[in-house]
Symmetry: C2
Subunit: 306 residues, 2 copies
């Protein structure tokens, strides 16, 4: 298995205008793995408490996710509770209980260290650096972060940026990190600090892939029904990395295709509560939607330049 | 000349974080014509007051805009004054003085009635219907509207929808018209009321072209500097209609190309105050940007479906 993810394994309670769930499987590494495992094998590193419903994690194992890197610690699992607005445009965090996640210190099983594709989910940048230290010679390292670390751990975060290939964040994080509200200037600011590429996720508006001098844009899939946006960004990352790991590529062209796979997985994620949106998704469904994406922005070229 | 626009000819006073202008050339028909005239001739129908700086309108004439349909009435010209937020994401209207525009009743010069491509800018839907009555056999009719008419003139607006080919509005207008916050359901609602297509503009996020069963998406051009968003939507319409009128097409493929021309003109519009963003734009600049747009969303297909 070429692909490694390090991140949170949580229990999410989510309220949307369409219903609610309690203590459902969640966390960045879970969403990432659920999406990526449709495309390729995944090695997962995370921590759960003694109260975690392991039988649900086992479903992930059946999908091809190697769970031997999931540590089980004494104490409560990481729990998050949130509520979305009527139009799903904003959400309020009602409760965050870190539990055993507060002391998470990722230790990679020796067999994990040769992974070629590494996704560092949103955890303390010092821990993300620690994971990189444990890697042998990864071909592609991608990291996420969040406002909490941008504010509180800026120095290690900037150090991390010098050591990863791609930063993948949402637009508000890119703005906060750079101190610039213009998303394109913000991306240039980030590129000047180390990463060769930056991916900026914009929710229902799609995502941008920026490298020096060139930008790629993938829209979000047009959906008439969105049930739960939770985890869409991590599913995007799972599709992006899953495609690259499966195809063994890192070229600029492959990155563009990976963006489409990311957007495709994001569109499945929002179709159900938690990871349920993926329950019946087969590889051919992914491929079908990837093809629809290609049509969505296709400009018929023949007469375009007349 | 195949292309006709009916709309406002105004004097705009605009305050942005980057400066301000007073009584600058503005109005939907002016922005539309400035953009469209780079591609093709335009016939303009509108009204100005006795205080209008006609020497500035003459510049439009030099660009190939037929101004014989601009009525000059006794009284004050239409004036709008607005102020944008620091990030240009929202704006506040400080003053609206309709002046002679309050009694605008578009009368088409006889030579205008055989125009094939008609854009009905944002005016009272009863007046938009009146313009259609005066047309002989237009090939493509496109109309804009705004929240004021959606609330106050719903009945004639719904009648108008049954008689136009394309409704072109921004996302908040589509939501208000349909009563649905999901933009794709809102578009379907609109399509069920007459138009064969709907274009939904989303500002810095681009624009959607929806027809039954198929959606096309064009992003906004990645710009690190935006000076004044005023008129970008009308410039979009001018690029869209200008391309179609010049090429004499109405096919689905041509509509997609027209969307890219629309987005291109929108990107020039925001680069300067008022219509200044267009001052030095030549046809080859438009073509160059259209080509950049094609690259912006290009998914390299060869291996995409592996």
């Amino acid at each position: 298995m070429r692909l490694l993810v390090v991140g949170s394994v949580a229990l999410d309670s989510v309220i949307t205008p369409f219903g609610q769930v309690e203590d459902a499987l969640g966390g960045s590494a879970v969403y990432f793995s659920t999406a990526a495992s449709i495309l390729t094998g995944v090695r997962l590193v995370g921590v759960v408490g003694s109260d975690y419903p392991m039988e649900q994690l086992v479903d992930l194992g059946a999908r091809g996710v190697d769970l031997s890197g999931v540590e089980r610690a004494e104490g409560e699992s990481f729990r998050w509770k949130g509520k979305y607005s009527y139009d799903l445009q904003s959400r309020e965090t009602l409760e965050t209980r870190l539990g055993v996640f507060a002391n998470f210190d990722p230790k990679l099983p020796d067999g994990y260290r040769d992974a070629e594709y590494v996704f560092l989910g949103n955890i303390d940048p010092e821990l993300q650096l620690g994971v990189l230290e444990q890697m042998r010679t990864p071909r592609l390292t991608v990291c996420d972060t969040m406002n909490y670390w941008i504010q509180g751990k800026r120095k290690p975060l900037l150090e991390l940026l010098q050591r990863v290939d791609v930063l993948m964040v949402n637009d508000s994080e890119a703005r906060e990190l750079s101190g610039d509200w213009n998303i394109h200037r913000a991306a240039r600011w980030i590129l000047a600090r180390g990463p060769k590429r930056v991916v900026i996720k914009q929710g229902e508006y799609g995502a941008l892939l920026m490298e020096p001098g060139r930008t790629f844009y993938v829209p979000a899939f047009p959906l008439e029904e969105v049930f739960d946006p939770t985890g869409a960004g991590d599913a995007f990352a799972g599709g992006f990395m899953g495609y690259l790991a499966r195809s063994g590529q890192t070229s600029p062209e492959a990155m563009r295709r990976a963006m489409v796979y990311g957007a495709t997985m994001g569109s499945f994620a929002v179709a159900g509560f938690g990871v349920r949106g993926f329950e019946s998704v087969r590889p051919e469904d992914v491929l079908g939607r990837v093809r629809l994406f290609a049509d969505l922005t296709h400009v018929p070229l023949a007469e375009q330049v007349e």
